[in-house]
């Protein structure tokens, strides 16, 4: 227990966790509604879409890459899900179709980055635009309504006290935490992101790992699309506009470094919670929604600035002790 406390103190996430706790305390002092079961459930449910897609983004950024196409994927996979649902009248087939769609998008992103050797920022900027346009063309810019009643249960239903999306997040977090820390797959991700040249010289399958990760990111984005479509009971070509930036901002706030190889899934989740709690608090305090974006921007810049400062002082101490 003592070592646990020591590790907690040294851990990179301690500062973030502290920020989250302080934020929660501050908001609950200002609004009595905050610490009610209903509101907490709402916060968690709001966070779930970003969290699910965020798991994929964490892995992509750990590799030193980026995926801008998750927002458009959310639109396209949602449309595919509802179209498949209406055609087959099966929620399961709709889910399979959505996930397959996400996997394909991820595969294309992965191939563009590894085989065509296009910088991932550019490659996914391209697929982002193509998918967004494709969604518009495919639907004539009109959303498709779901025609199977049980569909909306996925996004709005509960298992026990927990909303289904929140439960999904817990399960996925457990799965991917295990994959990142206890499986070769996770080791390879951290290694490639930390030093891609060393990874290649050590005989790791750099390209294959990258393609896998982009595919997983696509599948997870598609899963979030499925949940969103279910909640709205429709597939909308406008869904997920700006969603990719929301996801990227949250995981970066959570300490996932854009240079690759640095950060943890736990940290990213704290980042996601901070941003969700922040906008929830602003809603509870009746702050106009225009200010939400401003607040979010300020928090992200501040967090990354403080993090950079902290790393610099750490570096200075390391250098100071070694000479």
């Amino acid at each position: 227990m003592k070592t646990f406390a020591a590790r907690l103190l040294r851990s990179e996430q301690t500062g973030l966790l502290l920020a989250l706790v302080l934020l929660c305390i501050a908001i609950s002092l200002l609004s009595p509604v905050f610490f009610t079961a209903l509101n907490i459930k709402n916060v968690l449910r709001d966070a779930s879409l970003v969290a699910i897609a965020g798991i994929g983004m964490v892995m992509v950024i750990l590799l030193g890459e980026i995926d801008l196409s998750v927002g458009s994927t959310q639109a396209v996979a949602g449309i595919v899900a509802v179209a498949a649902l209406n055609a087959s009248e099966s929620v399961v087939l709709a889910l399979v179709a959505a996930l397959a769609c996400g996997a394909c998008i991820g595969l294309i992103n992965g191939l563009l980055v590894t085989k065509a050797k296009i910088n991932s920022l550019i490659a996914t900027l391209g697929t982002m635009a193509i998918l967004r346009g494709g969604g518009m063309v495919g639907t004539q810019a009109v959303s498709i309504q779901g025609k199977v009643d049980s569909f909306i249960d996925i996004g709005t239903g509960y298992i026990g006290p927990l909303p289904i999306p929140v439960l999904l997040v817990f399960i996925l977090f457990g799965l991917f935490y295990f994959a990142l820390h206890h499986m070769t797959f996770g080791r390879y991700i951290y290694a490639i992101g930390g030093n891609v040249e060393a990874a290649r010289l050590s005989g790791l399958s750099v390209d294959r790992t990258k393609i896998m990760v982009f595919m997983l990111a696509g599948v997870l984005a598609a899963l979030s699309a499925f949940i969103l479509a279910s909640r709205l009971n429709s597939g909308q070509p406008n869904a997920g506009l700006g969603f990719e930036l929301q996801v990227i901002a949250a995981v970066i706030l959570g300490g996932i470094s854009l240079t690759g190889g640095i950060g943890t899934l736990g940290g990213a989740f704290i980042g996601i919670l901070i941003l969700t709690v922040l906008s929830n608090g602003l809603v509870l305090l009746n702050v106009s929604s225009f200010y939400h974006d401003i607040a979010r921007g300020v928090v992200i810049i501040l967090a990354v600035y403080l993090d950079t400062r902290r790393k610099e002082s750490l570096l200075r101490r390391m250098l100071g002790s070694s000479t």
Binding site: M183, F185, Y190, A198, L201, S202, L204
Partner: protein, 500 residues
Amino acid sequence: MSATPIISLSGIHKRFPGVYALKDVDFEVHAGEVHALVGENGAGKSTLIKIIAGAYGLDGGDYLVEGVPAQIASPSESIAKGIVVVYQELELVPALSVAENIFFGRLPERFGRVQWRQLYAESTALLAQVGLDVDPRTKAGYLGIAAQHLIEIARALSHQAKLIVMDEPTSALSPQEIERLLKLIEELKSRGVGVVYVSHKLDEVLQVADRITVLRDGGRVACKEAVGLDEQSLVSLMVGRALGANFTDRKAVLGAPALEVENLSSASVRDISFVVRAGEIVGFSGLMGAGRTELARALMGVDRRLAGQVRVGGALLPASSPVASRRLGLGLVPEDRRESGIFPRRSVCENASIAALESLSHHGRIRHTSEREQVGTWVERLAVRTPSIEQEIAKLSGGNQQKVLLARWLLVEHIKVLIVDEPTRGIDVGAKAEIYTLLNELAEGGLALVVMSSEMTEILGLCDRIHVMRAGQLTASYTREEATAENLLTSALPLASARA
């Protein structure tokens, strides 16, 4: 030569972390003198040039310019004193004209407008001095390497240079161009300019130099009049030293061929063939840029092989798959630890186990206990000094990082051949000896080792067979008994006697 020398350095010391680059070196150049500087890779030539140029400070000793203590803190201050270095890698801006390059940063101007006519006139005069017949309006990028070198010299002259340092000026020149350059140097001499001439080409050095200073391992071993010296006597001055006590005599017990290379070519190496047997250490020697690292990368499949075959334990490797190379039992410890070896933010344990994870896992799930056990065993066996295997590898010393990188491949159960590129670069003396002992033990254990090294003593002390490379090709091959520092260097240098 009674007059005050242009530059005079005495008792120069320079240390870098882990390396004593210059030890008590004296060096002086008089007006109208060509003073050549020769030595093996890493002898200290570049460091000395950079001290003269003001790019490095001193850790001890005196640096006088025309008898006055030099207060030189940066290259621009040395240029102001008339000391100009023409580096091997040219520094011209290809998109600018010849004239603009010569007067780069100092274009003649009036009221903010460049005086083009004056610029071109002065440039033409300078170009005539160096014997280059081009229009000063030509873009520098259109000219060949030789002409670009002459432009650099013209630029030096435009600074009213009293001393010009030329670093390997002829490495990219044709014989005619070399003749022209040497003639120009004669002319500079006659005008009282001092020249420091750094080159591996000993015949040119002997032809052009008045005096020759030989550096070895950071110390000055000789400063002699060029008259009376020949290539052989220079080579023995450059290498002449006893092997350190670092090396144990190993009786090689050779097994079956572990690595067979036939006619391998890549973008940077050509037509290389050799065999390494189990239990054998085969070395590759050569000057900087001879293609050793490139050969290592082509063997591993990091750089695509354009032609030829590589077999490990009889199995053919695909042309560009480091993954397949690893699975078939070939490993590579790279030259540049920081850039391409370590995963700096990960632990010693993760750094060591990364290549062996396939056998340390079950259906993709890492068996942490056996991982720690095996890493622990090797960390202990290689005497890696680290507080724990959970320590971040970047916090370890260079020698200990190198041991972890060796452990990375030794953990691979089926490893048959290990290529080690510069096994002891940037490592202190104590750790060096440990690594030599370790490599010997590994060979005795039946591993086939390929050692790429620019350090002569290392190659001679470790290897059962030594191949020498020059310009991407094999030029010679010696057994342990045949190999001497002299014939390794002779095969590595582009000597006149060896040139067709």
